[in-house]
């Protein structure tokens, strides 16, 4: 079970909803992934287009726990405003704090992320900050009382996978709250590695929505995350520099 604040989930895959080719593919991919948590963004409505699709209706959002993000925010104050707008929908109390400090790398601003998380905790939100893979930052966020910490594997949408597995494992080791590896996952192997490192979950989006076959990739990610988790729980063998025979060395018939 993955426990975040007052919420409990059996799936450890959190799926973003951006950039799918169309709503039908998205719906099918979401179904197949087995996810129980969907992320999305808050944006201005087009007030001149009454025909614009209702995102939530297309997905039957009532079946999922909604995790809005504060993407687009550059400061803590902007993130807090977006979080409050999302909560005013009456549909969710969780917020993915995302304060981007640099628009080339899309790396999160640690200082503003910390500030925004503190304000939102005081406002009663269930707070999941997206952060860089800095071990001390993760600790400081946990000390504030956030409900999960979401270190990035690599820059958003890069598909580079986990570029600092040591940091992710150190964050996992010190954490007493869920660690969800968020951003940069490219392949099922990346997702499995995150879970083998002891992460409690993986949040991904482009790896599925941008795949040649998003529905098939959604299934692959589901299986990879399950496999990685089982592997972590099972406890892998230590790495050795030389061979150790699997078959008995005694009793050879010569």
């Amino acid at each position: 079970m993955l426990k975040i604040g007052n919420h409990e989930f059996s799936s450890r895959l959190l799926l973003g909803t951006g950039k799918f080719p169309d709503f039908d593919v998205q719906k099918e991919a979401v179904n197949v992934s087995g996810t129980e948590i969907l992320t999305f963004a808050v944006r201005r409505m087009n007030i001149f287009d009454p025909e614009q699709p209702n995102f939530l209706e297309k997905l039957d959002a009532s079946k999922y726990t909604l995790l809005p993000n504060t993407a687009g925010a550059k400061t803590a104050e902007e993130a807090v405003r977006i979080a409050k707008l999302a909560k005013a929908s009456g549909l969710c109390d969780m917020i993915k704090v995302e304060v981007i400090g640099d628009f080339k790398t899309l790396l999160p601003d640690p200082v503003e992320t910390l500030r925004a998380s503190e304000i939102l905790l005081n406002e009663g939100f269930t707070v999941l900050p997206y952060a860089s893979d800095d071990v001390l930052l993760a600790k400081k966020l946990e000390d504030l009382g956030v409900h999960a910490i979401m270190p990035g594997a690599s820059p958003i949408g890069s598909g580079l996978g986990i570029i600092n597995p040591l940091n992710i494992s150190l964050i996992v080791e010190q954490a007493t709250i869920p660690v969800i590896v968020d951003a940069g996952i490219g392949s099922p192997a990346d997702a499995a590695l995150a879970m083998e490192l002891g992460a409690d979950g993986v949040l991904l989006n482009t790896a599925v929505s941008g795949a040649e076959d998003p529905v098939k990739m959604a299934k692959a990610m589901k299986l990879a995350i399950e496999a990685g988790r089982l592997g972590y729980e099972a406890g892998r063998i230590p790495k050795r520099r030389y061979a150790t025979a699997s078959s008995p060395l005694e009793g050879m018939s010569v």
Partner: protein
């Protein structure tokens, strides 16, 4: 009455409340979230909140994102 909605200045007739405005824009039932003069309104406040000339209204909703 003149309103600034999502940065657009518009003249609306027959609109009194936030709910009226959402209906006028044909956005009812589409998950509109409203901020009036930088104050965020809960859904339950839409029907009772009366608009005034020159009000600044932001209407947002959920879109795909990661």
């Amino acid at each position: 009455m003149k309103l600034i909605v999502n940065g657009n200045t518009m003249e609306v007739a027959r609109v009194q409340t936030v709910d009226d405005l959402i209906k006028e824009l044909k956005l009812a039932g589409k998950g509109a979230i409203v901020e009036l003069n930088e104050e965020i309104l809960n859904k339950s406040q839409h029907a009772e909140t009366v608009l005034a000339n020159g009000d600044k209204v932001e209407i947002v909703h959920f879109v795909g994102g990661g």
